[in-house]
Amino acid sequence: MTTHDERPRERVDDLLAHMGEDLERGMVPAEVFNDESVYRRELRQIFGRCWVYIGHVSEIPNNGDYHVRRIGEDPFIFVRDEEGEIRVMLNSCRHRGSTVCRTDAGNTSHFRCPYHAWTYKNDGTLVGVPARPSGYRQLDLEQWSMISAAQVDTFRGLVFATLDPDAPPLEDYLGKFRWYLDMQFALTEGGMEVIGEPHRWYIDADWKSGGENFTGDSSHTQMTHRSLLETGIASEAGAGKTGKAFGLHINECDGHAISMRVMGEGVTSCFNYPPELQELFAAGDLSEAQLDLVRRGIVHDGTVFPNLSFIHFSAKDDVEKDETAFLSIRTWQPRGPGRMEVWNWTLAPREASPEFKEKAYRAGMASFSPSGTFEQDDAIVWTGVARTGGTLTAELQDLRFNYQMGMPGMGSAEPIEDWPGPGRRTPARAGCAPSTASGSRT
């Protein structure tokens, strides 16, 4: 929350107009992390125009399965209709706007409004208006279906929607970044499967802090997650220590970014997936170059703009036992200036055994979830960013946060030329390449 009256509109206009120049110098205005006007514009210009992640196809396996999700702050029903089509519809009756679905999830053939009983099939078609013969004789039911998001599409099991009818197709929006998404979501023919229900929790921090951290903040691990390094819960390699592994940041990839820590050439780690699953990866449709990065993978973490992040990693829930591989994906959802609601899902390959899926879930939950040993400390350090951004002092002093690490003159890292994939890539030796500034510019 801001600690004073809303900032003058002209000031925010000015801040945003100069943001490109600021980023060139490696600076970001503190206020953008906690400002009512910036927030309102983000809802409209970002969440109102971009493709936003809704859910995974594996969450709605049967016709009639539904979950209530959000685009920005707007509530949408994510449902598989009776024909098997995926729909994303505003959770509102077309009559007078009452909320049609007041649950988190379920299965239904019809949605019925509790106000006047207008009834819709699960594809949103209006089929029942009780007062019709006496009061709505000329009502054309076909004109009063539930409102769909402007566009809905799926990539590798990930369902996205946009409120903008003029948004480019999803394929173009994801662009060249699909090369990296393939490695997370299309390892096997069956793809990934969500295990259980999402975790949902609130953090008094700006939605942008999460996505930014997941695109390439290699240097925070050593301190933010120091308790895990000290106790042996996290391994040095995963955390950023140099040695046999090396890290890199990839950005300027059609607006999205990813960070990777991989073993040296020819060394297999494969996120610690068991051999039987590794064999399935080889039989999937990844290219040799993609497979190589998977086989050498320790951690791949990235963000699909605006707010879908993922981390493909392995972790221990028990310090005495080995790590288990998991894929965690999350959306950092806007809930007001300086406040977000995080939704987190844990995924594993569809073909994996029930025993592996349980282990993967527990490893993901133990590290990246509200009780996660990594996640708990990330949340803490981000709250301060929003708090500072909301101060009067930040405004009076034109406070800028420092994103200069690794920039020309500051960093010793040179761009990586020899690379089989898209995007601009720079090595990260437990340090931030100039990825964050460019990522922010995007």
């Binding site: 295990i195 929790w201 895990l228 028990d318 040993t373 949340a379 350090v381």
Partner: protein, 174 residues
């Protein structure tokens, strides 16, 4: 049916002792109150339609906020004892209130040593310089086991009232 001789006072005393350890941030002391085969879960609540036939639980079968055994709880305690566990450095100040203690028929367990107990809880959490506590409430379904003369926690399922956590981390034990 449980045949173990454990009084309601014994059970209440156990819960008070447990709360005392945790409210004093004595997590290793708390660990000592658990059996080595402890099964501890906090499933995610999913808000569903009230069914005519309650076939579907209000709680996820696979999704959990916590899903622990002795080893994983010991691992969490190990981390909490580090000075770098920022979520609990400084520690959250908590106050656990445990009430509505009810004995129930056993579901599994050993009838000569185990007793099943339901209880309600409210945990008030204070952080930073906020005068407003964050509050978590719910019900617990426990299996308490008589080990020698002492009760120990062998199994716990925590049923939170909330489906969305209103705080940035679940860094305490419920």
């Amino acid at each position: 049916m449980s045949t173990v001789t454990v009084t309601t006072e014994d059970i209440a005393a156990f819960y008070s002792l447990e709360a005392e350890h945790l409210d004093r941030a004595d997590v290793s002391g708390w660990l000592g109150l658990l059996t080595e085969d402890v099964d501890y879960r906090v499933p995610i609540r999913v808000v569903r339609e009230k069914a005519a036939e309650p076939a579907e639980s209000d709680f996820s079968h696979r999704g959990h906020f916590m899903w622990e055994n002795y080893g994983t709880l010991r691992t969490r305690v190990l981390r909490l004892e580090s000075e770098f566990a920022w979520a609990e450095q400084p520690p959250t100040r908590t106050r656990r209130l445990v009430t509505n203690i009810r004995r129930r028929d056993l579901l599994g367990g050993d009838s000569e040593h185990d007793v099943r107990v339901l209880s309600n809880f409210a945990i008030y959490c204070y952080r930073g310089d906020s005068p407003e506590p964050f509050v978590l409430t719910g019900e617990r379904d426990d299996l308490l086991r008589l080990v020698g003369d002492d009760l120990r926690l062998a199994r716990r399922v925590v049923y939170l009232d909330t489906n969305v956590l209103g705080t940035h981390a679940l860094s305490i034990f419920l």
